[in-house]
Symmetry: C3
Subunit: 468 residues, 3 copies
């Protein structure tokens, strides 16, 4: 075989594109993530309170985290920070006085944000406060009562059906009082302007795929990137769903304009195939990068159009922000039967899947980090590649190497209007091959990067790039 | 089941969108239309003359109609109003003196606009003046000789083949003389600027689907709308084909600029599936509304691209006007074998189909009436829907209601750039559901309509709507 | 049947569009092209030297050709004209002294551009200089050593395997010295501004489909067009591949801005189906014209997207030029097994295929010559076609003629924004039918051409064409 670009004999092998997943021990990373999930699992989280606070404290032991507390009543657009909810105990005692439903056995047993109650009542009186899943009679559902004065218990349907008549004692030893909403942020600074937002909701109690898997992946991602030089700054947000994202946005409007790309992280621990949900924009760089990285991975995946239903992309992609934020999950919310039930437990999420998700996130970020628009410095006719070691040395052969093709594609389309993702799309070549060719051409001075994009996110024209 | 938007317990059910077809008794309407067709059937219409005039008179008995008479010779762009044609009698007598072809049995027997003739001639001399349909030997074809000095007869092919040699007497007791071209207009005024043009050709003699069905549908439509408050003004035009539309356009150039939407009505009485022919623009609001209403109806239909062949959309969509006028038919012209033959008689059109067509027209107009671009008054993050009664009251459930989804879609896309039809397209939800959500949001002040579009039909920017 | 547009009885038949292929005797033209290929076959061409010069001399005997000589060392963008290569003899003698590889038997035996050598050496020493095709053991490959100081021989793999050990005499009696690069140009002037570039590489030695077929086709095309009035000027370029195109571009930058359309010609002699490779622009007029002409021909063909690999479209479509130049071939380079081997000989190319290719090129050029944007002089409503002889004389028939439809389409879309190719695309009618209708409408004054496009190739607005 003839020498090809990458192994050209008279040059050191070019480094190619910078794959952030290089060197990742996915098995080890996956096992660590799973251990972290098991560690957080018993904590009773909610959208405020000590369970959330303790979770963020443990995240802060793993990565540098800034903790924020926002007082009850603080306005945030159409919302305000609610009373802080804390709970010490909750149970139902049957007529015989046995604790038949016990918060200490599973924090899912109490409707999250229940107001305090301690009363005796008949089954008929109690019944409207009980939630179960007739289709999954052994599972306990996850229910919340945010923004309402209500209380309730969740239990297996089988158990509910067997409840005898009689007087029950119900107790929810909770408080709803002025306090604060907690969220944590980790910022890894980058060399150029622009931020990548990575956001996970951290408010769900004993539920693993949704969303301790997201919390664990963000922690692992931050640890992995921490050690590496980065082009963009990375902002990791751990906050309660909906109200947390709304509060974060309301306190970070000046930051928002720097966000170039973003991903909402959830449901990354089950063994299902990847699903990428597009941003509201539909073809933002993050959308193109995520789809390209999934294509290059060569495994089945599904792309979903944006919808205003789901996780905190609902807030990031609200029309007043319209941020380029997508969501990369394995099986999406609501599509696995264990979703929002006690069956979303540590056995549903798998170390192997978690490690694999981390690697896929790194591949997406690698594309973002390397993607640029370049300008061919020799735009009139092809440059002489042979004397620069970028061409097979014997002409006239009927086939041609993929890397040689990539060099020609990058030269041809680097007119300041096409970025490397465009070149992948038009050439059918993978991002690593195209980015490797761009790197090699840059080394020999045939390619220069266009000016960094302006912070407005508009499709800035590459200065001097339009050649004719 | 949980309460949903429409039946939210603490609010009166929202009225949803205003469906103009609500309350329509389609069976009764269809029967009335069929009776009207049978009433008009025997009249010998043409592009001018007393048959057309009598038809308009009967239309004017059903709805308020302004009758216009335009004198012979009046110029209209490349055309001028022709001589008025009237006919009292026409026949062919065979050598034995029997009336074998008789205008009084069917007005299709005479070539429409034939010059007068009264002569005796051999079969050989007569033969070039006889028209028949070899493929349908029992049917009489419909033929015209506009803008030429010619005469002729139409008869069943079977009869033509059986004609013996001998001397025939032919008589067409017609006149072609200075007179006028008649057309009628009905205007229903609306609350906002902008007109909807609804146009039917009224020149065909004893033919029912093409186009007494169109005349009858327009009459029924005007009667139905007359009683209702309307957003747009509606202009119903009953005119002879081609020359009538041309004359109407030439006399209404200042009116034309107010036309926002339009439909040419024909062939709405056969039982075939609906066909929508796009306007020349291809994606005008009328095109989007008609297709959406057909999709929402949930029955098979066909969408045809514009072509400059057909009915008076040829004139309305000529390049000098390029009006947003499509055509909604059942089986289109030329696609049913009875087209332009004596078989297009009162048995071809059916009361049920006519009523159903009227309902479908009303559904299309309902979409036009309700479609708007709105602006979300709380564009940054989602508003709190719960406290406005627009949200299921217990969170955490895995499924979500269609109406809740519609509320989220309308909020997300109401940035002044998307109208409700865009939101249907992107969400996959039906127009009634989306319009109902918009109505509910408007009620609680979360949505305000963008300014009405300017009369230029340009894609006016919604004032203040671009949020960022 | 009723009279139709073309044979309307009261008018002379309109001439329709001007088909440049009309009157072509494809059999005779194909035979002449094949004879020309056989004549050129034995000459040892390269990117410089007397073989190329002699080839251009013979082209100049057939058509008026301007010969250019560009001195060694002349810079051309990133390149410079190399030393001129000439060769008188080359051979390998086996240990017994027999000429076992002989340049005079086939000029493919020597690696093109080999430096001189005359030595005795062992088989082991000789081996790295020998090239063969293991998959086609009877064929001699075509190899070059441009821009490197190297030499070599090509021979059948079967022969290579049978070489005995021993001392061999190798001789390449070549010179590499200051001289010049030759290319030839033929210019046929046209009536309007704008040039069509037709380019063939003329540097390959004894290879027929690639690219003596291209040279022969260009010669036949120039001879055919020479006798005819032309709208565009036609510039035929016969130059060595890559360096020749680069040198031509560097010396013709002022000419380049006049190029409206272009085709790179190669591989037009095999019997395979046509393949059209789009220009970098993808939908330039030449792309639309070539695809339309192939569609109209009614035979299978394939359209390939642009890629920066191939023939001299690589240079013409480099980002600094981005010329509207496509490539029309039969089987493309690299897709036939004989490509770049001794099997690409006069038996691979066929007179019939050559003649057919010439006719197809003429059909593409006919589309380019006739394609225009027109303006309907009667844009408001249809004009009266009947009194101009452009309409069937008896109305009311259910069918309609293709030519009548074409007349209506041309009138409807001739608003200064659509050219005839657009009208073909939207109507589904063939270019001859649409162009014939345009011709007829022009004859009666209903159509006027928009101003010729400006030389900038921008989508110039048709002066006064936007009617509203």
């Amino acid at each position: 075989m003839l020498p090809t670009l990458i192994s050209s004999p008279d040059r050191a092998p070019v480094e190619g594109w910078r794959d952030l997943a290089a060197g990742l021990d996915t098995a080890r990373a996956g096992a660590a993530m799973h251990a972290f999930i098991r560690d957080l699992y018993p904590i009773c989280r909610s959208i405020t309170g000590d369970g959330l606070r303790e979770t963020l404290r443990r995240v802060g032991q793993a990565i540098p985290l800034t903790l924020h507390e926002v007082s009850t009543g603080t306005p945030a657009y159409d919302w305000s920070v609610p009373h802080e909810w804390n709970i010490r105990d909750a149970y139902i005692k049957n007529p015989a006085g046995d604790r038949i439903v016990d918060f200490h056995k599973s924090n899912l047993h109490v409707v999250n944000y229940s107001v305090p109650v301690h009363r005796r009542m008949s089954l008929a009186e109690l019944r409207p406060h009980l939630h179960s899943l007739p289709d999954h009679p052994e599972w306990v559902p996850y229910r919340t009562s945010y923004y309402r004065d209500a209380w309730g218990f969740c239990l297996p349907h089988r158990q509910l059906l067997a409840l005898p008549e009689g007087e029950y004692e119900v107790c929810i030893d909770s408080t709803l009082a002025a306090g604060s909403l907690s969220y944590g942020e980790c910022l890894l600074p980058g060399a150029e302007a622009g931020t990548v937002l990575l956001s996970a909701h951290a408010c769900h109690p004993a539920l693993c795929n949704d969303n301790l898997s997201g919390v664990a992946l963000l922690v692992a991602l931050a640890r992995h990137l921490q050690a590496r030089p980065l082009r963009y700054s990375y902002r990791f947000v751990f906050a309660p769903g909906t109200i947390g994202a709304i509060v974060w946005l309301s306190r970070n409007e000046s930051e928002v304009q720097h966000i170039r790309h973003g991903l909402v992280v959830a449901c990354v621990g089950d063994p299902g195939p990847f699903h990428y949900k597009r941003s509201r924009r539909g073809s933002a760089d993050i959308d193109r990068a995520a789809v390209r990285a999934l294509q290059d991975a060569g495994r089945p995946f599904e792309v979903l159009d944006f919808s205003p239903y789901g996780y905190d992309e609902r807030q990031y992609c609200s029309p007043g922000f319209d941020l380029p934020v997508g969501s990369l999950t394995r099986t999406p919310h609501g599509r696995f039967p264990e979703y929002h039930t006690s069956a979303d437990d540590p056995t549903l999420v798998q170390a192997e899947a978690l490690g694999d998700s981390l690697a896929q996130y790194l591949r997406v970020l690698s594309v973002l980090e390397s993607n640029r628009r370049y300008r061919n410095t020799n735009p009139k006719c092809e440059p002489q590649l042979g004397r620069r070691g970028l061409y097979p040395l014997t002409g006239g052969r009927a086939d041609s190497e993929e890397t040689e093709l990539a060099v020609l594609w990058v030269l041809n389309l680097s007119d300041g209007r096409h970025d490397l993702l465009d070149i992948c799309g038009r050439s059918g070549l993978s991002f690593p091959v195209v980015a490797g060719a761009a790197h090699a051409l840059r080394q020999v001075g045939l390619l220069v990067p266009c000016e960094p994009e302006t912070p407005t996110l508009d499709d800035a024209t590459c200065d001097g790039a339009l050649i004719r």
